[in-house]
Point group: C2
Chain length 335, copies 2
């Protein structure tokens, strides 16, 4: 049987939530990944040293062993230099949300006034703290990411030493930015390597495929695949796995987010195998992230096997992508 | 209190379904409309004289009085001349669905071979039977209607005496067709005068605003409003009200269709009032259709009143648009 081995897989964009949900979903990521960038959009958002350390402790308590590193992030606000210097060793990045743009982002940035942000962003530059950005405007849903490119350009030009990660990119416009500015990087989810808007609303409407940013057009999917499959050195895997309880997905108003944590590595292997690019998966799912972030995850070896895997209907009440369907690869062992 | 009177309102595109659903929804349309074009996409589709007459009888049995005229349609197939001559007095139009494009359309047209369709369409021309068309290709969901324009052009050019109704148009491209071909007409729904894709998936995902064709871009909404509010003489109101049981809307795979029958006239009045175009509503909601189809509905006078109306959470298990929300106009009386 065909197998493929991955070393120290990393999920560079992960929502673990809190409380019972955290306890339910954290072990699923910890099983197959060496570490993950942990998003700070709790209620209230993670924005103090106390909250950050306490959240990290709750995460560590929820994972069954010590082979999983939660790379912690702060919720972006304008922070002063003293605070950033005091917390630099506890965080891996700071995550910026435009206000109200996605789940629990109400306290985000409401205007991109560079001068107001300068102290924070220059301090981050000098301390080597990357800025992760949810790059969407509040415009028409299919245009939001493309419209945000001018803000990425503004940030990239004004803070040339700041590493800026364009999170969960979904458009050819974002892909084109990678080669335009040396300090722009990107994460790509597994679902955005599989879906277009057609899958979400082209047949029946699929709430479990609804996420922000929404999956875009076929030419956007092609652009994402092109850089992911080649493991473009500025591109990393970040699942944006975003669990919601089933009743918040299948209702009058379905929350945005696709839950892929327990199947993302298998799906990535299937995609890269289908395109005969398995040799590039290690870079996409770990090496590029290590280089970009300068992190050294603990050893973990995941062996995947090419055999049908029936995705469970739910994990503790959270419906995953492809629930009840068969995917082409399974995890054989983790060491 | 401000009132507005409408005479013989007509809904030129209506799904009444069958069985218990028919019994539940038909009275709601019959209350406020003088008549409606009844879509034939039952399972199996309405394609024989027997089925048509039996369906008409079931509709008449479901409405509480004789003030409602169901203008019957056949499901488009290639019919021979003798059959069309035999049924012309029983039908108002024939409805063409591309195969598989929407609810219960599996038996529709799978290729637009003009020569194969010629006998049917020329006979319809000579008998004065309009062709109603669900104009979408099987392409990317946001492009399907615009891509279908070339088929409308093919039909309009080859059958210049055939009245072709572009049903439930949603794009500026379809609006532009109205002035390009004398034999192209259109219906517009009330929800497509209110929604863009932003309302469907821009915030939370809204299954009760999910329909086919999907609501498009802001510039498309503007184009639709421009011809509706002016009551362009080739444009008619057709609700495309499409009831589904609640569990088929709020689930893993939500069926397409928005249920507006009981509130469409109120919403139209609110829209035309907001744009200060109430004087044009009579033409949009009745007179244009009478002229285009050459029909003479029985007298009905509906008086609407400008006061808040709380839309019920559901009508016999069918969730309407704006369920539980207040709209700005209510029906005061029907005579």
């Amino acid at each position: 049987m065909k197998t493929h081995t991955l070393l120290m897989p990393l999920d560079m964009h992960l929502h673990l939530r809190d409380g019972v949900m955290l306890e339910n979903v954290a072990p699923l990521s910890a099983y197959s990944y060496s570490g993950a960038i942990i998003m700070p959009n709790l209620v209230p958002p993670v924005a103090t040293r106390e909250d950050l350390l306490a959240y990290r402790e709750r995460i560590m308590a929820a994972v069954p062993n010590d082979y999983f590193e939660p790379y912690m992030t702060l919720f972006y606000k304008n922070y002063d230099k003293a605070f950033l210097e005091s917390i630099v060793d506890e965080i891996t990045a700071i995550k910026l949300y435009p206000a109200g743009i996605t789940t629990n982002s109400e306290g985000g940035v409401s205007s991109f006034d560079i001068e107001e942000m300068r102290t924070t962003l220059e301090t981050m530059s000098s301390l080597g703290i990357p800025l992760c950005v949810h790059g969407e405007t509040d415009g028409f849903v299919m245009d939001r990411e493309a419209e945000f490119m001018s803000i990425y350009e503004l940030l990239a030009q004004n803070f040339p030493d700041l590493k800026i990660i364009m999170e969960h990119i979904t458009t050819k416009e974002a892909v084109a930015m990678l080669d335009k500015y040396p300090n722009l990087y990107a994460t790509i989810t597994v679902h955005h390597l599989l879906l277009t808007l057609d899958d979400v609303i082209g047949g029946l409407m699929r709430p479990h495929l609804f996420c922000k940013p929404i999956a875009k057009r076929p030419e956007d999917l092609d652009a994402l695949l092109s850089v992911a499959l080649e493991a473009h050195p500025k591109v990393m895997f970040g699942s944006d796995s975003a669990p919601h309880p089933q009743h918040k997905k299948e209702s009058c108003g379905c929350a945005a987010g696709i839950f892929t944590a327990p199947i993302s590595l298998q799906l990535l292997t299937e995609i890269f195998d289908q395109f005969d690019k398995l040799d590039n998966l290690q870079a996409f799912v770990s090496d590029n992230a290590q280089n970009i972030y300068g992190i050294c995850p603990e050893f973990k070896e995941v062996i995947l096997e090419k055999r049908p895997f029936l995705v469970p209907e739910n994990y503790s009440g959270v419906v995953p992508m492809f629930a009840g369907e068969k995917i082409g690869w399974a995890i054989e062992s983790v060491d």
